[in-house]
Symmetry: C2
DNA sequence: ACCTGAACACCGTTCAAGT
DNA sequence: ACCTGAACACCGTTCAAGT
């Protein structure tokens, strides 16, 4: 890549990151280009779809998230560790309004740039889920894909209720603790 | 209201209903006005915000949903009835792409037209939840507001994955059955 | 090879002019 | 009292012209 092209790429990425943080992933592409000091055509050249821009931003953060998952895999309490991982995902998604929605949509669209980003995230979650199940803290028959979708859905609910900072914790607790008092028992 | 004004109101409402069904609640307001055979200004006169239009459409369906909740309140199995109610909500929301998102947002905005619509829905859910709790099928300490938010969040996830028709059932089951094998027990 | 920005299409919203 | 639709602002996307 030519030196000026690379510089433009980096500038666009940096401006996209701040714009997505401040205004959500629906932020105006024209404004991102303008703030990066390039023409709108240059933005489209480097990032043909909005999703391309989103996944480039997201990818820059996946490594840090994965590092956190490795820490949690060594934590003493498997179930608490899993909960903490889901909390991390929700907290991260809250930084980029609109990201969780895109991630949910990407899950049913293999091969998309965003779904490639979320694959290692899913693998990390899978390890934490497995460990909690082996420890007997979480019942069998729970699919990591479903759990991620539900987590993203919770992130979306949290996005929608900015004035209730504890909603995330309550909904995750609801998910994890479950509604049934005695899961094995038949309906009352 | 003048006769022609009322007719315009009804036409706009009918077109909004079909547009929201076909294209989601982000449907173009200009198109709705055009298909209703009125000027765009007339739409804004009758429905000052998009939310006004949405809640008018929604309100027209609340009665039928409430009737269903009364049926379920008489069903033999309290927990199954509650699950069925949540399923009904998700299924309805899936008919209007974008509605569940608006409902989640409305929950933290008392007094909005949409939140007035969802209050009786919440009351209906509360009765079903209470009954399941009194029967011992659902643990105490579950808030109906949280449960509704989670249900709307699930509806949103389902919206995002149109090619996985069973996702709703799986996520609702996940919510209801819960993750913990033995809820009362400490972490493993 | 890459960049620019005018051009086109589309939408939301307001408001002066009409009946 | 109500309706109309032009007008304005804004955004996404493409592409011919430039370097």
């Amino acid at each position: 890549m030519r030196a000026d092209a690379r510089r433009n790429y980096e500038r666009l990425l940096a401006e996209a990151r701040t714009a997505f943080t401040e205004r959500g992933t629906d932020a105006s592409l024209e404004e991102i280009a303008r703030r990066a000091g390039v023409g709108i055509g240059t933005l489209y050249r480097h990032f043909p779809h909005r999703t391309a821009l989103m996944s480039a931003v997201f990818q820059g953060e996946v490594e840090a998230l994965l590092a956190r998952s490795r820490e949690l895999l060594a934590a003493p309490q498997p179930c608490t560790a899993l909960l903490e991982w889901l909390r991390t995902i929700v907290a991260h998604a809250s930084t980029y309004r609109g990201l969780s929605r895109a991630l949910m949509a990407a899950q049913s669209d293999d091969g998309s740039a965003l779904s490639r980003c979320s694959m290692p995230m899913q693998a990390a979650g899978s390890k934490l889920l497995d460990r909690a199940q082996r420890a007997g803290a979480v019942r069998e028959g729970v699919d990591i894909v479903d759990l991620m979708q539900l987590t993203n859905a919770i992130a979306l609910a949290v996005e929608q209720s900015p004035d209730d900072p504890e909603l995330a914790d309550r909904l995750l607790a609801l998910t994890l603790q479950g509604l049934k008092a005695r899961p094995a028992e038949a309906d009352a």
